[in-house]
């Protein structure tokens, strides 16, 4: 029957309403609800929906959108932990690594054109160090360095931006800018990190870098950390460069919204891995046509190429103000340390806060800054500077003339006039000798290096690479760095000895 059920429902309702009224503050809520109804059920439903959405949102669990986050169950974690075996702290060396470790020569005493070796005690003619102008043993520079050491002490005690800059650093920057003919220059303490910092300071995500695929490891790392879009063009192939620039122009012309990206062409003046020179005049032509900026890495050509040693811009007679950033090294030709970037005032001043190696690395010691300044001053005085360059060029030409006379055994990839020569086995000679892998080629080259060290008293070296990280790994080679202060006779004798070694190595295996 209805009556008891109805009476029960009535009673529960009354009890619950009394309970609700007993809650403090309930009359405000009841008033609010009464006010809000206002004869408009649709609106009430909407507000209720909003309140329900809010509550549902509050109760949702948080989750990550990122797809690479793997969630493991407890059991999986336990299994993985149980089956993990620790690797040895030091991996055992492979054969070739052990060979490299054993065969590396150690110099006893100071560097120079004829250093003494620790293992044999003999003095070998140094064709491996990048002492191109012979500044390491230059007496004037040595005296100036000792005087600076007495005045300034050894270190600079800080990054350049935080009390590490000395007057000698500022003088060096002025000297470099004056010597090159650019507006200003900024110096970095380490040669390798200079080019990486400069590229990353100007090129960010979304920008476009067109780089030569023969560029050295530092440039490759710089383009990687800049996170820009990198397009490579074939080494020194200007037609390929134009093709790449044209394809980029087509791609970006068709996209709806054309962003204002910065575009750079990165190349080296004298390539560290090949010894040949970039055709700067053609590159400047293409740069003006397609509106790119040029970053020129003159680490191996500053102080070495051109009539006065001003680098590639002097060789091609191009105003250095047209090249946006000229990067050079004081560690190669100038017997100092570190590198520099020369350009306009804005380019240089931007790097004082954005050049990572400038901001986060210690400033170079005063003594080395003074050495580099003195080296530039020597280059600027025509009698001494031109003589050094001429000697270096003559030595390089003498060496080159000897080694190119055996094309069946030696492949020289350097241009005429380059102080860096890379000597490689020609491919057909290798296949005739039955050498197929890279390691075998390295072993054969190392035999040549050892032989001339013992028999002919020469210190030469193979070019070494971080093979797992190079984008375009160059073939194994012996890298010769010509020094200006070596006697011509010594250089020619050395070239004959190396040529004989190469010929013997290639023919021996037949």
């Amino acid at each position: 029957m209805d009556n008891p059920i109805l009476a029960a429902v009535n009673q529960t309702l009354q009890a619950s309403s009394r309970a609700i009224e007993a809650i403090p503050g309930s009359d405000i809520v009841i008033n609010y609800i009464k006010n809000s109804y206002q004869n408009d059920p649709f609106r009430v439903v909407l507000e209720l929906g909003l309140a329900v959405f809010a509550v549902k949102y509050m109760l949702s669990k948080k989750y990550r959108i990122d797809p690479s986050h793997i969630k493991l169950t407890e059991k999986e974690i336990d299994e993985l932990v149980a089956e993990w075996q620790p690797e040895p702290l030091v991996q055992p060396l492979s054969d070739i690594q052990r060979m490299e470790l054993e065969k590396t020569q150690v110099i006893a005493g100071h560097q120079g054109p004829k250093p003494k070796m620790l293992s044999s005690g003999k003095n070998l003619l140094n064709l491996a160090s990048t002492n191109f102008l012979g500044y390491i043993n230059n007496e004037d520079i040595k005296e100036k360095a000792i005087e600076t050491l007495r005045n300034y002490g050894v270190g600079s005690c800080g990054p350049p931006g935080f009390y590490g800059t000395l007057d000698v650093h500022i003088n060096l920057e002025k000297d470099i800018a004056r010597f090159l003919g650019t507006e200003k220059a900024i110096i970095y303490s380490q040669n390798f990190s200079t080019i990486s910092s400069v590229i990353a300071a100007f090129s960010k995500r979304g920008d476009i870098i067109v780089a030569d695929d023969g560029c050295n490891f530092a440039i490759q790392k710089g383009t990687q950390i800049s996170r820009s879009n990198i397009k490579w063009f074939k080494h020194n192939d200007m037609a390929d460069l134009e093709r790449v620039l044209e394809s980029i122009k087509k791609e970006t012309a068709t996209s709806k919204k054309r962003p204002l990206t910065r575009r750079f062409i990165v190349t080296e003046g004298l390539f560290q891995n090949f010894g040949d020179i970039a055709p700067l005049d053609k590159i400047m032509e293409l740069k003006e046509k397609y509106k790119y900026r040029v970053i020129l890495d003159e680490s191996n050509s500053f102080g070495l190429l051109g009539k006065n040693g001003r680098g590639l811009t002097e060789v091609f007679n191009i105003s250095p103000k047209r090249v946006d950033m000229i990067i050079g090294s004081m560690a190669t030709a100038l017997s100092g340390t570190g590198g520099f970037c020369a350009g306009s005032k804005e380019v240089v001043e931007h790097q004082r806060l954005s050049g990572q190696a400038f901001v986060f690395s210690a400033a170079m010691p005063a003594m080395l800054a003074v050495c580099a300044s003195e080296a530039i001053k020597i280059l600027e005085t025509p009698e001494k500077g031109n003589k050094l360059l001429k000697d270096m060029n003559d030595n390089a030409a003498a060496f080159r003339n000897v080694v190119v006379s055996a094309p069946q055994a030696i492949e020289v990839s350097s241009d005429v006039g380059s102080p860096i020569l890379h000597l490689r086995f020609p491919k057909n000679a290798l296949s005739a000798a039955g050498i197929t892998t890279r390691d075998e080629e390295k072993y054969l080259l190392q035999e040549i290096v050892d032989e001339v060290a013992v028999k002919d008293g020469l210190l030469i070296t193979r070019a070494k690479y971080v093979e797992s990280q190079e984008m375009f790994l160059p073939r194994p080679s012996i890298r010769i760095s010509i020094c200006a202060t070596h006697a011509r006779k010594d250089v020619e004798k050395a070239a004959q000895a190396i040529k004989a070694s190469f010929v013997k190595a290639v023919s021996k295996r037949k």
Binding site: A54, S60, K62, Y63, I65, S68, Q224, R227
Partner: protein, 167 residues
């Protein structure tokens, strides 16, 4: 995987975004910021209340409007960070998407979703449910709430803020 291809993956992108604390969005997690948010709403209402000739209903509607439009611009319209530290990893990402590194339903996001809802309920109550004011408040609040839904994470409508992707 070659070295070159590894650097193009999302993994590297994510690492770049999370390698340092994103100072542009980390302050939202502080409870002081939450309190300031509430105080700002009160201040807006106060200043609209002072303006002569503005009825309380209009003041409430203007408060809701100002808060929702202002927070939409700040959280969903402006992209990137004002200072450079990760080579442009945040270039195409709005502040809402940067909060807590993209994790959905964190405390900050729940709080920032609640505030417009509560403001909406209050202002409809104080405008005595007039239809015109109600519709303005509703539209503005709904736009703000839709932008905060997890399904809209990194979704771009009508090519606004569209990041041009180069390969």
């Amino acid at each position: 995987m070659t070295l070159a291809s590894m650097y193009k993956t999302d993994y590297v992108q994510t690492c770049d975004q999370h390698c340092q604390t994103n100072l542009n969005s980390s302050w939202f997690n502080d409870k002081g910021a939450w309190m300031t948010n509430v105080i700002i709403v009160c201040l807006i209402k106060f200043f609209f209340g002072i303006v002569p000739g503005m009825s309380p209903e209009l003041a409430w509607t203007m408060t809701t409007l100002t808060y929702n439009v202002g927070s939409y611009i700040m959280l969903h319209a402006v992209t990137g960070v004002p200072f450079e530290f990760t080579q442009g990893a945040y270039d195409g990402i709005t502040l809402w998407e940067q909060i807590d590194g993209g994790v959905q339903f964190t405390a900050t996001r729940k709080y920032l979703t609640t505030v417009p809802i509560v403001l909406f309920l209050l202002s409809t109550h104080y405008t005595h449910y007039a239809p015109f004011a109600f519709s303005i408040n509703l539209v503005v609040t709904i736009i703000n709430l839709i932008a905060k839904l997890p399904v809209m994470h990194q979704v771009r409508l009508f090519d606004i803020n569209q990041k041009v992707e180069s390969n």
